[in-house]
Protein backbone atom coordinates (compact mmCIF):
# COMPACT_ATOMS: atom_id res chain seq x y z
CA UNK A 1 0.00 0.00 0.00
CA UNK A 2 1.31 3.36 -1.00
CA UNK A 3 1.94 5.95 1.71
CA UNK A 4 -0.92 8.48 2.00
CA UNK A 5 -0.34 11.79 0.21
CA UNK A 6 1.23 14.27 2.63
CA UNK A 7 -0.77 17.43 3.30
CA UNK A 8 2.25 19.59 2.75
CA UNK A 9 5.18 18.72 0.60
CA UNK A 10 8.00 21.10 -0.31
CA UNK A 11 10.23 19.63 -3.01
CA UNK A 12 13.64 21.16 -3.43
CA UNK A 13 12.25 24.64 -2.76
CA UNK A 14 14.55 27.63 -3.19
CA UNK A 15 13.64 31.19 -2.44
CA UNK A 16 15.88 34.08 -3.44
CA UNK A 17 15.13 37.66 -2.49
CA UNK A 18 16.65 40.69 -4.22
CA UNK A 19 18.90 40.85 -7.25
CA UNK A 20 22.62 40.84 -7.96
CA UNK A 21 24.79 41.97 -5.04
CA UNK A 22 21.83 42.20 -2.68
CA UNK A 23 20.71 38.67 -3.47
CA UNK A 24 19.72 36.70 -0.37
CA UNK A 25 18.97 33.01 -0.46
CA UNK A 26 16.29 32.51 2.21
CA UNK A 27 15.58 28.89 1.31
CA UNK A 28 18.05 26.66 -0.42
CA UNK A 29 16.80 23.33 -1.69
CA UNK A 30 14.38 22.65 1.14
CA UNK A 31 12.50 19.35 1.26
CA UNK A 32 9.74 19.14 3.84
CA UNK A 33 6.91 16.63 4.01
CA UNK A 34 4.15 16.91 6.60
CA UNK A 35 1.50 14.21 6.97
CA UNK A 36 -2.10 14.79 7.92
CA UNK A 37 -2.61 15.01 11.67
CA UNK A 38 1.01 15.84 12.47
CA UNK A 39 2.13 18.52 14.91
CA UNK A 40 5.36 19.93 13.51
CA UNK A 41 7.61 22.64 14.89
CA UNK A 42 9.96 24.44 12.52
CA UNK A 43 12.92 25.83 14.45
CA UNK A 44 16.17 27.52 13.77
CA UNK A 45 18.14 30.69 14.46
CA UNK A 46 16.92 33.96 12.99
CA UNK A 47 17.64 34.17 9.29
CA UNK A 48 17.49 30.42 8.94
CA UNK A 49 14.54 30.64 6.56
CA UNK A 50 11.89 29.24 8.90
CA UNK A 51 9.53 32.21 8.45
CA UNK A 52 9.96 32.09 4.68
CA UNK A 53 9.09 28.39 4.80
CA UNK A 54 6.03 29.22 6.84
CA UNK A 55 4.89 31.91 4.36
CA UNK A 56 5.46 29.46 1.54
CA UNK A 57 3.30 26.82 3.25
CA UNK A 58 0.64 29.50 3.85
CA UNK A 59 0.58 30.37 0.13
CA UNK A 60 1.57 33.91 1.03
CA UNK A 61 4.85 33.56 -0.84
CA UNK A 62 5.88 31.58 -3.90
CA UNK A 63 9.10 29.65 -4.47
CA UNK A 64 11.80 30.88 -6.86
CA UNK A 65 12.30 27.27 -7.89
CA UNK A 66 11.08 23.89 -6.72
CA UNK A 67 7.56 22.71 -6.06
CA UNK A 68 5.03 23.06 -3.30
CA UNK A 69 2.27 20.45 -3.22
CA UNK A 70 -0.74 20.90 -0.98
CA UNK A 71 -2.75 17.67 -0.77
CA UNK A 72 -0.87 16.67 -3.89
CA UNK A 73 -1.87 19.80 -5.82
CA UNK A 74 0.87 22.00 -7.26
CA UNK A 75 0.30 25.35 -5.57
CA UNK A 76 2.62 27.15 -7.96
CA UNK A 77 0.22 26.50 -10.81
CA UNK A 78 -2.74 28.07 -9.04
CA UNK A 79 -3.85 31.64 -9.54
CA UNK A 80 -3.74 34.37 -6.93
CA UNK A 81 -7.44 33.95 -6.27
CA UNK A 82 -7.09 30.20 -5.92
CA UNK A 83 -4.38 30.81 -3.31
CA UNK A 84 -6.91 32.93 -1.42
CA UNK A 85 -9.49 30.14 -1.68
CA UNK A 86 -6.94 27.61 -0.45
CA UNK A 87 -6.15 29.81 2.57
CA UNK A 88 -9.84 30.35 3.19
CA UNK A 89 -10.87 26.68 3.03
CA UNK A 90 -7.86 24.70 4.23
CA UNK A 91 -5.60 26.93 6.30
CA UNK A 92 -5.85 28.86 9.54
CA UNK A 93 -3.25 31.40 10.61
CA UNK A 94 -2.07 32.25 14.10
CA UNK A 95 0.48 35.05 14.37
CA UNK A 96 2.92 36.17 16.99
CA UNK A 97 1.30 39.61 17.12
CA UNK A 98 -2.24 38.11 17.20
CA UNK A 99 -3.29 40.32 14.29
CA UNK A 100 -6.84 40.88 15.38
CA UNK A 101 -8.72 43.81 13.85
CA UNK A 102 -8.70 46.71 16.28
CA UNK A 103 -11.97 48.25 17.45
CA UNK A 104 -13.75 45.10 16.33
CA UNK A 105 -15.32 42.68 18.77
CA UNK A 106 -13.88 39.20 19.31
CA UNK A 107 -17.00 37.75 17.70
CA UNK A 108 -16.63 39.86 14.57
CA UNK A 109 -12.95 39.03 14.36
CA UNK A 110 -13.76 35.35 14.40
CA UNK A 111 -16.52 35.85 11.84
CA UNK A 112 -14.12 37.47 9.37
CA UNK A 113 -13.03 34.37 7.40
CA UNK A 114 -16.64 33.24 7.04
CA UNK A 115 -17.66 36.62 5.62
CA UNK A 116 -15.36 35.97 2.71
CA UNK A 117 -16.86 32.53 2.30
CA UNK A 118 -20.22 34.23 1.85
CA UNK A 119 -21.83 32.45 4.78
CA UNK A 120 -25.16 33.84 6.04
CA UNK A 121 -24.88 36.04 9.12
CA UNK A 122 -26.83 33.82 11.50
CA UNK A 123 -24.77 30.74 10.66
CA UNK A 124 -21.60 32.77 10.95
CA UNK A 125 -22.52 34.10 14.35
CA UNK A 126 -23.36 30.62 15.62
CA UNK A 127 -20.09 29.14 14.46
CA UNK A 128 -18.06 32.05 15.78
CA UNK A 129 -19.65 31.62 19.20
CA UNK A 130 -18.86 27.91 19.12
CA UNK A 131 -15.26 28.57 18.16
CA UNK A 132 -14.85 31.14 20.93
CA UNK A 133 -16.35 28.70 23.43
CA UNK A 134 -13.89 26.05 22.24
CA UNK A 135 -10.92 28.26 23.08
CA UNK A 136 -12.42 29.23 26.44
CA UNK A 137 -13.62 32.72 25.54
CA UNK A 138 -17.36 32.18 26.01
CA UNK A 139 -18.82 35.34 27.47
CA UNK A 140 -16.20 37.62 25.93
CA UNK A 141 -17.71 37.77 22.44
CA UNK A 142 -18.39 41.48 22.52
CA UNK A 143 -14.98 42.52 23.86
CA UNK A 144 -12.60 44.50 21.69
CA UNK A 145 -9.04 43.17 21.41
CA UNK A 146 -7.94 46.09 23.61
CA UNK A 147 -10.19 44.74 26.34
CA UNK A 148 -8.62 41.29 26.21
CA UNK A 149 -5.36 40.11 27.74
CA UNK A 150 -2.56 38.88 25.48
CA UNK A 151 -3.48 35.26 26.14
CA UNK A 152 -7.13 35.95 25.42
CA UNK A 153 -6.24 37.77 22.22
CA UNK A 154 -4.23 34.79 21.05
CA UNK A 155 -7.14 32.50 21.91
CA UNK A 156 -9.45 34.71 19.86
CA UNK A 157 -6.95 34.50 17.02
CA UNK A 158 -6.90 30.71 17.33
CA UNK A 159 -10.71 30.70 17.30
CA UNK A 160 -10.53 32.70 14.07
CA UNK A 161 -8.06 30.21 12.62
CA UNK A 162 -10.17 27.15 13.46
CA UNK A 163 -13.64 28.52 12.73
CA UNK A 164 -13.43 27.55 9.08
CA UNK A 165 -12.65 23.90 9.91
CA UNK A 166 -9.16 24.11 8.45
CA UNK A 167 -7.06 21.09 7.63
CA UNK A 168 -3.93 22.88 8.79
CA UNK A 169 -3.26 25.59 11.35
CA UNK A 170 -0.10 27.58 10.71
CA UNK A 171 1.22 29.20 13.87
CA UNK A 172 4.06 31.69 13.50
CA UNK A 173 5.68 32.16 16.92
CA UNK A 174 2.27 31.92 18.60
CA UNK A 175 3.73 32.34 22.09
CA UNK A 176 6.37 34.92 21.18
CA UNK A 177 4.51 37.76 22.91
CA UNK A 178 3.29 35.79 25.91
CA UNK A 179 4.76 34.87 29.29
CA UNK A 180 5.48 31.24 30.16
CA UNK A 181 2.20 30.52 31.91
CA UNK A 182 0.08 31.86 29.06
CA UNK A 183 2.37 30.22 26.51
CA UNK A 184 1.71 26.86 28.09
CA UNK A 185 -2.05 27.49 27.97
CA UNK A 186 -1.82 28.28 24.27
CA UNK A 187 0.31 25.23 23.58
CA UNK A 188 -2.12 23.02 25.47
CA UNK A 189 -4.92 24.46 23.35
CA UNK A 190 -3.04 23.75 20.11
CA UNK A 191 -2.24 20.26 21.32
CA UNK A 192 -5.90 19.64 22.11
CA UNK A 193 -6.95 20.83 18.63
CA UNK A 194 -4.37 18.51 17.12
CA UNK A 195 -5.34 15.48 19.17
CA UNK A 196 -9.08 15.90 19.40
CA UNK A 197 -9.93 17.59 16.07
CA UNK A 198 -7.04 16.04 14.10
CA UNK A 199 -5.99 19.42 12.76
CA UNK A 200 -2.49 19.38 11.35
CA UNK A 201 -0.39 22.01 13.10
CA UNK A 202 2.74 23.62 11.74
CA UNK A 203 4.39 25.99 14.16
CA UNK A 204 7.44 28.20 13.92
CA UNK A 205 9.12 28.82 17.25
CA UNK A 206 12.52 29.36 18.78
CA UNK A 207 11.57 28.14 22.23
CA UNK A 208 12.44 24.52 22.99
CA UNK A 209 9.75 24.24 25.68
CA UNK A 210 7.11 25.05 23.09
CA UNK A 211 8.62 22.87 20.41
CA UNK A 212 8.50 20.01 22.87
CA UNK A 213 4.72 19.86 22.35
CA UNK A 214 5.27 18.90 18.71
CA UNK A 215 5.59 15.36 17.36
CA UNK A 216 8.43 16.39 15.18
CA UNK A 217 10.93 19.22 14.93
CA UNK A 218 12.40 20.47 11.67
CA UNK A 219 15.62 22.34 12.38
CA UNK A 220 16.70 24.86 9.76
CA UNK A 221 20.01 26.67 9.40
CA UNK A 222 21.01 29.02 6.58
CA UNK A 223 18.02 28.18 4.43
CA UNK A 224 18.54 24.43 4.65
CA UNK A 225 16.93 21.70 6.72
CA UNK A 226 19.75 20.57 8.98
CA UNK A 227 17.99 17.89 10.94
CA UNK A 228 14.55 16.50 11.61
CA UNK A 229 13.18 14.15 14.23
CA UNK A 230 11.31 14.06 17.54
CA UNK A 231 12.00 17.05 19.78
CA UNK A 232 14.20 14.97 22.05
CA UNK A 233 16.31 13.65 19.20
CA UNK A 234 16.83 17.04 17.61
CA UNK A 235 17.66 18.85 20.84
CA UNK A 236 20.08 16.10 21.97
CA UNK A 237 21.86 16.20 18.65
CA UNK A 238 22.02 20.00 18.82
CA UNK A 239 23.62 19.84 22.27
CA UNK A 240 26.16 17.26 21.22
CA UNK A 241 27.30 19.28 18.24
CA UNK A 242 27.50 22.46 20.32
Amino acid sequence: MAAPTPVIELRDVTKVYGHGEAEVCAMDGVNISIASGEFVAIMGPSGSGKSTAMNMIGCLDSPTSGEYLFNGVQVGKLTQDQHALLRRNYLGFVFQGFNLLARTSALENVELPMIYKGMPAAERRKRAREALAKVGLAGRESHDPSELSGGQQQRAAIARALVGDPQVILADEPTGNLDTKLSIEIMELLKKLNERDHITIVMVTHEEEMAAYAHRVIWMVDGKVESTGTPDEVFKRGKQSA
Binding site: N55, A84, R88, L91, F95, L101, P113, K117, A121
Partner: protein, 402 residues
Protein backbone atom coordinates in the same frame (compact mmCIF):
# COMPACT_ATOMS: atom_id res chain seq x y z
CA UNK B 1 -22.05 39.45 -0.19
CA UNK B 2 -22.64 42.94 -1.54
CA UNK B 3 -24.84 43.79 1.44
CA UNK B 4 -22.18 42.42 3.71
CA UNK B 5 -19.65 44.66 1.97
CA UNK B 6 -21.90 47.70 2.31
CA UNK B 7 -22.40 46.91 5.98
CA UNK B 8 -18.64 46.58 6.48
CA UNK B 9 -18.13 49.87 4.65
CA UNK B 10 -20.66 51.69 6.83
CA UNK B 11 -19.00 50.18 9.90
CA UNK B 12 -15.59 51.38 8.75
CA UNK B 13 -16.99 54.85 7.99
CA UNK B 14 -18.53 55.20 11.44
CA UNK B 15 -15.44 53.81 13.11
CA UNK B 16 -13.65 56.92 11.82
CA UNK B 17 -16.56 59.32 12.16
CA UNK B 18 -14.61 62.58 12.32
CA UNK B 19 -12.38 61.71 9.40
CA UNK B 20 -15.38 60.57 7.39
CA UNK B 21 -17.15 63.87 8.03
CA UNK B 22 -14.13 65.87 6.90
CA UNK B 23 -13.80 63.65 3.85
CA UNK B 24 -17.37 64.06 2.65
CA UNK B 25 -17.38 67.80 3.33
CA UNK B 26 -15.98 68.47 -0.13
CA UNK B 27 -18.70 66.42 -1.79
CA UNK B 28 -21.36 67.94 0.44
CA UNK B 29 -20.33 71.48 -0.47
CA UNK B 30 -19.98 70.66 -4.15
CA UNK B 31 -23.34 68.94 -4.46
CA UNK B 32 -25.09 71.55 -2.29
CA UNK B 33 -23.66 74.35 -4.44
CA UNK B 34 -24.73 72.74 -7.72
CA UNK B 35 -28.21 71.93 -6.42
CA UNK B 36 -28.71 75.39 -4.94
CA UNK B 37 -27.48 77.13 -8.12
CA UNK B 38 -29.60 75.10 -10.47
CA UNK B 39 -32.71 75.28 -8.29
CA UNK B 40 -32.47 79.04 -7.76
CA UNK B 41 -31.68 79.48 -11.47
CA UNK B 42 -34.71 77.43 -12.43
CA UNK B 43 -36.78 79.45 -9.98
CA UNK B 44 -35.80 82.77 -11.52
CA UNK B 45 -36.41 81.36 -15.00
CA UNK B 46 -39.88 80.31 -13.90
CA UNK B 47 -40.39 83.74 -12.39
CA UNK B 48 -39.54 85.43 -15.68
CA UNK B 49 -41.89 83.15 -17.57
CA UNK B 50 -44.63 83.79 -15.04
CA UNK B 51 -44.05 87.56 -15.27
CA UNK B 52 -44.31 87.50 -19.01
CA UNK B 53 -47.41 85.37 -18.82
CA UNK B 54 -48.89 87.89 -16.40
CA UNK B 55 -48.18 90.56 -18.96
CA UNK B 56 -49.93 88.38 -21.49
CA UNK B 57 -48.30 86.01 -23.91
CA UNK B 58 -50.49 87.39 -26.64
CA UNK B 59 -49.05 90.87 -26.24
CA UNK B 60 -46.89 92.48 -28.94
CA UNK B 61 -45.13 95.81 -29.00
CA UNK B 62 -44.57 98.04 -32.03
CA UNK B 63 -41.66 100.44 -31.79
CA UNK B 64 -40.17 102.87 -34.28
CA UNK B 65 -36.57 102.27 -35.39
CA UNK B 66 -35.01 99.18 -36.93
CA UNK B 67 -34.40 97.69 -33.55
CA UNK B 68 -30.84 96.91 -34.36
CA UNK B 69 -28.25 97.96 -31.89
CA UNK B 70 -24.71 99.13 -32.39
CA UNK B 71 -22.93 100.90 -35.22
CA UNK B 72 -24.72 101.46 -38.51
CA UNK B 73 -28.06 102.06 -36.84
CA UNK B 74 -28.11 105.81 -37.06
CA UNK B 75 -31.19 106.13 -39.22
CA UNK B 76 -33.74 108.48 -37.80
CA UNK B 77 -37.05 106.78 -38.24
CA UNK B 78 -40.46 108.34 -38.26
CA UNK B 79 -42.40 108.11 -35.04
CA UNK B 80 -45.72 106.32 -34.73
CA UNK B 81 -48.97 108.17 -34.30
CA UNK B 82 -52.49 107.62 -33.05
CA UNK B 83 -53.72 106.79 -36.56
CA UNK B 84 -51.42 103.77 -36.59
CA UNK B 85 -53.18 102.49 -33.46
CA UNK B 86 -56.61 102.79 -35.07
CA UNK B 87 -55.38 101.25 -38.32
CA UNK B 88 -54.03 98.20 -36.49
CA UNK B 89 -57.32 97.68 -34.69
CA UNK B 90 -59.57 98.33 -37.69
CA UNK B 91 -57.68 96.58 -40.45
CA UNK B 92 -56.26 93.47 -38.86
CA UNK B 93 -58.39 90.54 -37.81
CA UNK B 94 -55.53 89.10 -35.80
CA UNK B 95 -55.46 92.16 -33.54
CA UNK B 96 -57.97 92.23 -30.73
CA UNK B 97 -57.07 95.66 -29.46
CA UNK B 98 -54.15 98.08 -29.25
CA UNK B 99 -53.11 101.12 -27.25
CA UNK B 100 -50.56 103.89 -27.63
CA UNK B 101 -47.96 104.21 -24.91
CA UNK B 102 -45.66 107.17 -24.29
CA UNK B 103 -43.56 107.18 -21.19
CA UNK B 104 -41.33 109.57 -19.30
CA UNK B 105 -40.10 110.11 -15.77
CA UNK B 106 -41.35 113.10 -13.76
CA UNK B 107 -41.73 114.38 -10.24
CA UNK B 108 -45.22 113.87 -8.88
CA UNK B 109 -46.19 116.18 -6.05
CA UNK B 110 -49.05 115.94 -3.59
CA UNK B 111 -49.12 118.38 -0.72
CA UNK B 112 -45.74 118.19 0.95
CA UNK B 113 -44.90 114.79 -0.56
CA UNK B 114 -43.04 114.40 -3.80
CA UNK B 115 -41.76 111.35 -5.65
CA UNK B 116 -40.02 110.62 -8.90
CA UNK B 117 -42.18 108.31 -10.90
CA UNK B 118 -42.93 106.93 -14.32
CA UNK B 119 -45.63 108.81 -16.18
CA UNK B 120 -47.28 107.15 -19.16
CA UNK B 121 -49.71 108.56 -21.66
CA UNK B 122 -52.10 105.89 -22.92
CA UNK B 123 -55.77 105.04 -22.99
CA UNK B 124 -58.20 102.60 -21.38
CA UNK B 125 -57.38 99.94 -23.96
CA UNK B 126 -53.88 99.62 -22.48
CA UNK B 127 -55.34 98.19 -19.27
CA UNK B 128 -57.19 95.67 -21.43
CA UNK B 129 -54.07 94.72 -23.39
CA UNK B 130 -51.94 94.04 -20.33
CA UNK B 131 -54.90 92.83 -18.26
CA UNK B 132 -54.47 95.28 -15.42
CA UNK B 133 -57.58 95.86 -13.29
CA UNK B 134 -58.50 99.06 -11.47
CA UNK B 135 -59.22 98.25 -7.83
CA UNK B 136 -60.59 101.61 -6.78
CA UNK B 137 -62.17 104.48 -8.69
CA UNK B 138 -62.63 104.25 -12.47
CA UNK B 139 -60.83 104.33 -15.81
CA UNK B 140 -60.65 107.15 -18.35
CA UNK B 141 -63.98 108.21 -19.85
CA UNK B 142 -64.13 108.58 -23.65
CA UNK B 143 -64.67 112.30 -23.21
CA UNK B 144 -61.59 112.59 -21.05
CA UNK B 145 -59.56 110.68 -23.61
CA UNK B 146 -60.68 112.70 -26.60
CA UNK B 147 -60.33 116.05 -24.87
CA UNK B 148 -57.09 115.15 -23.14
CA UNK B 149 -58.31 116.12 -19.69
CA UNK B 150 -55.81 116.08 -16.88
CA UNK B 151 -56.97 113.04 -14.95
CA UNK B 152 -54.80 110.14 -13.83
CA UNK B 153 -54.82 106.56 -12.65
CA UNK B 154 -52.02 105.73 -10.22
CA UNK B 155 -50.12 102.58 -9.25
CA UNK B 156 -49.85 101.20 -5.73
CA UNK B 157 -46.33 102.53 -5.10
CA UNK B 158 -47.32 106.07 -6.04
CA UNK B 159 -50.29 105.82 -3.71
CA UNK B 160 -48.06 104.76 -0.83
CA UNK B 161 -45.39 107.37 -1.53
CA UNK B 162 -47.70 110.34 -1.99
CA UNK B 163 -50.94 109.64 -0.20
CA UNK B 164 -50.02 107.36 2.68
CA UNK B 165 -53.30 106.70 4.46
CA UNK B 166 -55.33 109.26 2.52
CA UNK B 167 -57.82 107.94 -0.03
CA UNK B 168 -56.23 109.10 -3.31
CA UNK B 169 -59.35 109.07 -5.49
CA UNK B 170 -60.61 112.59 -5.97
CA UNK B 171 -57.34 114.17 -4.77
CA UNK B 172 -55.18 116.22 -7.11
CA UNK B 173 -51.52 115.68 -7.75
CA UNK B 174 -49.15 117.75 -9.79
CA UNK B 175 -46.97 116.47 -12.63
CA UNK B 176 -44.52 119.09 -13.82
CA UNK B 177 -46.90 122.01 -14.07
CA UNK B 178 -50.02 119.97 -14.77
CA UNK B 179 -52.56 119.46 -12.04
CA UNK B 180 -54.18 116.09 -12.35
CA UNK B 181 -57.18 114.62 -10.61
CA UNK B 182 -56.70 111.05 -9.42
CA UNK B 183 -59.62 108.99 -10.69
CA UNK B 184 -58.45 105.42 -10.14
CA UNK B 185 -56.01 103.09 -8.42
CA UNK B 186 -54.41 100.13 -10.21
CA UNK B 187 -54.04 96.67 -8.72
CA UNK B 188 -50.59 96.04 -7.22
CA UNK B 189 -48.38 94.08 -9.64
CA UNK B 190 -45.00 93.88 -7.92
CA UNK B 191 -41.58 93.97 -9.51
CA UNK B 192 -41.15 92.96 -13.14
CA UNK B 193 -38.51 90.45 -14.16
CA UNK B 194 -36.34 93.41 -15.18
CA UNK B 195 -36.36 94.38 -11.52
CA UNK B 196 -38.36 97.56 -12.06
CA UNK B 197 -41.34 98.38 -9.88
CA UNK B 198 -44.36 98.20 -12.15
CA UNK B 199 -46.55 99.87 -9.55
CA UNK B 200 -44.46 103.06 -9.63
CA UNK B 201 -46.57 104.59 -12.38
CA UNK B 202 -49.06 107.34 -13.19
CA UNK B 203 -51.26 106.86 -16.26
CA UNK B 204 -52.79 109.87 -17.98
CA UNK B 205 -54.78 110.11 -21.27
CA UNK B 206 -52.45 110.04 -24.27
CA UNK B 207 -53.73 113.36 -25.55
CA UNK B 208 -53.05 115.03 -22.24
CA UNK B 209 -49.56 113.57 -22.32
CA UNK B 210 -48.92 114.76 -25.88
CA UNK B 211 -50.24 118.23 -25.32
CA UNK B 212 -49.14 119.08 -21.81
CA UNK B 213 -45.98 117.04 -21.28
CA UNK B 214 -44.17 116.38 -24.57
CA UNK B 215 -45.89 118.87 -26.82
CA UNK B 216 -45.82 116.57 -29.83
CA UNK B 217 -48.30 114.20 -31.48
CA UNK B 218 -45.83 111.32 -31.64
CA UNK B 219 -46.56 107.93 -30.19
CA UNK B 220 -43.43 106.16 -29.03
CA UNK B 221 -44.83 102.64 -28.68
CA UNK B 222 -47.98 100.69 -29.42
CA UNK B 223 -49.12 97.80 -27.25
CA UNK B 224 -51.06 95.22 -29.25
CA UNK B 225 -53.13 92.30 -28.00
CA UNK B 226 -53.49 89.50 -30.52
CA UNK B 227 -56.99 88.16 -31.06
CA UNK B 228 -57.86 85.04 -29.08
CA UNK B 229 -58.21 82.97 -32.25
CA UNK B 230 -54.97 84.27 -33.79
CA UNK B 231 -51.43 83.30 -32.95
CA UNK B 232 -48.97 86.02 -32.03
CA UNK B 233 -46.85 84.83 -34.95
CA UNK B 234 -49.65 85.56 -37.40
CA UNK B 235 -50.38 88.89 -35.72
CA UNK B 236 -46.70 89.76 -35.95
CA UNK B 237 -46.57 89.11 -39.68
CA UNK B 238 -49.79 91.04 -40.32
CA UNK B 239 -48.67 94.00 -38.25
CA UNK B 240 -45.37 94.12 -40.09
CA UNK B 241 -47.10 94.03 -43.48
CA UNK B 242 -49.55 96.74 -42.54
CA UNK B 243 -46.89 98.96 -41.01
CA UNK B 244 -44.67 98.64 -44.08
CA UNK B 245 -47.62 99.71 -46.20
CA UNK B 246 -48.47 102.65 -43.99
CA UNK B 247 -44.88 103.80 -43.81
CA UNK B 248 -44.39 103.24 -47.57
CA UNK B 249 -41.41 100.97 -47.29
CA UNK B 250 -40.53 99.55 -50.70
CA UNK B 251 -39.65 95.94 -51.43
CA UNK B 252 -36.12 95.10 -50.41
CA UNK B 253 -35.95 97.99 -47.99
CA UNK B 254 -35.49 97.29 -44.33
CA UNK B 255 -38.17 97.95 -41.74
CA UNK B 256 -37.79 101.25 -39.91
CA UNK B 257 -39.83 99.90 -37.02
CA UNK B 258 -39.95 96.67 -35.18
CA UNK B 259 -42.50 94.41 -33.66
CA UNK B 260 -41.64 92.35 -30.64
CA UNK B 261 -43.69 89.73 -28.97
CA UNK B 262 -43.52 88.77 -25.32
CA UNK B 263 -42.52 85.22 -26.15
CA UNK B 264 -39.30 86.49 -27.70
CA UNK B 265 -38.71 88.66 -24.72
CA UNK B 266 -39.37 85.77 -22.38
CA UNK B 267 -37.03 83.43 -24.18
CA UNK B 268 -34.35 86.13 -24.25
CA UNK B 269 -34.68 86.71 -20.53
CA UNK B 270 -34.79 83.05 -19.59
CA UNK B 271 -31.84 82.57 -21.94
CA UNK B 272 -29.83 85.01 -19.83
CA UNK B 273 -30.81 83.30 -16.58
CA UNK B 274 -29.98 79.92 -18.06
CA UNK B 275 -26.50 81.04 -19.12
CA UNK B 276 -25.85 82.49 -15.68
CA UNK B 277 -27.13 79.34 -13.99
CA UNK B 278 -24.93 77.23 -16.25
CA UNK B 279 -21.82 79.26 -15.46
CA UNK B 280 -22.38 79.23 -11.72
CA UNK B 281 -23.14 75.52 -11.80
CA UNK B 282 -19.92 74.90 -13.68
CA UNK B 283 -18.01 76.68 -10.94
CA UNK B 284 -19.86 74.62 -8.35
CA UNK B 285 -19.06 71.43 -10.30
CA UNK B 286 -15.36 72.22 -9.94
CA UNK B 287 -15.77 72.04 -6.19
CA UNK B 288 -17.34 68.61 -6.68
CA UNK B 289 -14.21 67.54 -8.50
CA UNK B 290 -12.09 68.89 -5.66
CA UNK B 291 -14.31 66.96 -3.27
CA UNK B 292 -13.62 63.80 -5.24
CA UNK B 293 -9.90 64.35 -5.01
CA UNK B 294 -10.36 64.80 -1.25
CA UNK B 295 -12.00 61.39 -1.11
CA UNK B 296 -9.17 59.83 -3.07
CA UNK B 297 -6.64 61.42 -0.75
CA UNK B 298 -8.32 60.12 2.39
CA UNK B 299 -8.85 56.67 0.90
CA UNK B 300 -5.15 56.48 0.06
CA UNK B 301 -4.26 57.47 3.61
CA UNK B 302 -6.77 54.93 4.82
CA UNK B 303 -5.20 52.18 2.74
CA UNK B 304 -1.78 52.97 4.19
CA UNK B 305 -3.16 53.14 7.71
CA UNK B 306 -5.02 49.90 7.33
CA UNK B 307 -2.26 47.99 5.57
CA UNK B 308 -2.07 45.53 8.43
CA UNK B 309 -5.83 45.07 8.41
CA UNK B 310 -5.67 44.35 4.69
CA UNK B 311 -2.91 41.81 5.36
CA UNK B 312 -5.08 40.07 7.95
CA UNK B 313 -8.02 39.98 5.56
CA UNK B 314 -5.86 38.50 2.82
CA UNK B 315 -4.42 35.93 5.24
CA UNK B 316 -7.84 34.70 6.33
CA UNK B 317 -8.75 34.11 2.71
CA UNK B 318 -10.06 37.34 1.18
CA UNK B 319 -9.32 37.49 -2.54
CA UNK B 320 -7.78 40.62 -4.05
CA UNK B 321 -11.15 41.41 -5.64
CA UNK B 322 -12.94 41.19 -2.31
CA UNK B 323 -10.52 43.69 -0.80
CA UNK B 324 -10.86 45.91 -3.88
CA UNK B 325 -14.63 45.76 -3.62
CA UNK B 326 -14.52 46.57 0.08
CA UNK B 327 -12.51 49.75 -0.38
CA UNK B 328 -14.41 50.74 -3.51
CA UNK B 329 -17.75 50.32 -1.77
CA UNK B 330 -16.43 52.29 1.16
CA UNK B 331 -15.51 55.18 -1.14
CA UNK B 332 -18.86 54.98 -2.95
CA UNK B 333 -20.90 54.82 0.25
CA UNK B 334 -18.89 57.71 1.64
CA UNK B 335 -19.45 59.90 -1.41
CA UNK B 336 -23.11 58.92 -1.67
CA UNK B 337 -23.65 59.91 1.95
CA UNK B 338 -21.98 63.19 1.03
CA UNK B 339 -24.22 63.42 -2.01
CA UNK B 340 -27.41 62.92 -0.01
CA UNK B 341 -26.39 65.44 2.64
CA UNK B 342 -25.37 67.85 -0.13
CA UNK B 343 -28.72 67.45 -1.92
CA UNK B 344 -30.66 68.16 1.28
CA UNK B 345 -28.43 71.09 2.14
CA UNK B 346 -28.62 72.47 -1.40
CA UNK B 347 -32.41 72.22 -1.50
CA UNK B 348 -32.57 73.90 1.90
CA UNK B 349 -30.33 76.73 0.73
CA UNK B 350 -32.33 77.08 -2.47
CA UNK B 351 -35.60 77.20 -0.51
CA UNK B 352 -34.27 79.96 1.74
CA UNK B 353 -32.78 81.93 -1.17
CA UNK B 354 -35.96 81.59 -3.24
CA UNK B 355 -37.92 82.86 -0.29
CA UNK B 356 -35.65 85.89 0.12
CA UNK B 357 -35.61 86.64 -3.62
CA UNK B 358 -39.38 86.09 -3.80
CA UNK B 359 -39.09 83.65 -6.67
CA UNK B 360 -40.73 80.23 -6.91
CA UNK B 361 -38.85 77.30 -5.32
CA UNK B 362 -38.54 74.87 -8.23
CA UNK B 363 -36.53 71.78 -7.28
CA UNK B 364 -35.95 69.64 -10.38
CA UNK B 365 -35.97 65.89 -9.71
CA UNK B 366 -33.61 65.44 -12.65
CA UNK B 367 -30.84 67.56 -11.16
CA UNK B 368 -31.26 65.81 -7.80
CA UNK B 369 -30.89 62.45 -9.53
CA UNK B 370 -27.91 63.69 -11.53
CA UNK B 371 -26.21 65.03 -8.40
CA UNK B 372 -26.76 61.73 -6.62
CA UNK B 373 -25.43 59.64 -9.50
CA UNK B 374 -22.55 62.04 -9.95
CA UNK B 375 -21.52 61.71 -6.32
CA UNK B 376 -21.68 57.92 -6.65
CA UNK B 377 -19.54 58.21 -9.78
CA UNK B 378 -17.04 60.35 -7.87
CA UNK B 379 -16.80 57.49 -5.38
CA UNK B 380 -16.18 54.95 -8.11
CA UNK B 381 -13.63 57.04 -9.99
CA UNK B 382 -11.69 58.37 -7.04
CA UNK B 383 -12.11 55.24 -4.94
CA UNK B 384 -10.85 52.84 -7.57
CA UNK B 385 -7.18 53.79 -7.46
CA UNK B 386 -6.80 53.48 -3.67
CA UNK B 387 -8.86 50.27 -3.69
CA UNK B 388 -6.70 48.72 -6.35
CA UNK B 389 -3.67 49.64 -4.33
CA UNK B 390 -5.16 47.89 -1.31
CA UNK B 391 -6.00 44.79 -3.33
CA UNK B 392 -2.49 44.51 -4.71
CA UNK B 393 -0.70 44.66 -1.38
CA UNK B 394 1.67 41.81 -0.72
CA UNK B 395 0.12 39.97 2.25
CA UNK B 396 3.48 39.27 3.89
CA UNK B 397 4.53 42.90 3.68
CA UNK B 398 1.10 43.99 4.82
CA UNK B 399 1.19 41.73 7.88
CA UNK B 400 4.63 42.97 8.80
CA UNK B 401 3.49 46.60 8.52
CA UNK B 402 3.35 48.32 11.89
Amino acid sequence: MIWETVRLAIQAIFRNALRSILTVLGIVIGVAAVIAMVTVGQGSSDQVTADVEKLGTNVLMVLPGAGRMGPGNNSVSAALDLKDVEALIDQLSSVRTAAPYNQTTLNAVYGAEDARTSVAGTDTRFLDVVDWPIVQGRGFLPAEESSGRAVCIIGETVRQDLFGNTDPVGETLRLKNVSCEVIGLLEAKGASSFGTDQDDIVLIPIKAFQRRITGSADVSMIYVAAADNASTDRALVEIETLMRERRRIGDGEEDDFNVRDMKQLASMLTGITDVLTGLLSAVAAVSLLVGGIGIMNIMLVSVTERTREIGIRLAVGATGNQVLLQFLVEAIVLSMIGGVIGILLGLGLAAITSNIMAIPFSPAPSIVAIAFLFSAAVGVIFGYFPARRAARLDPIEALRHQ
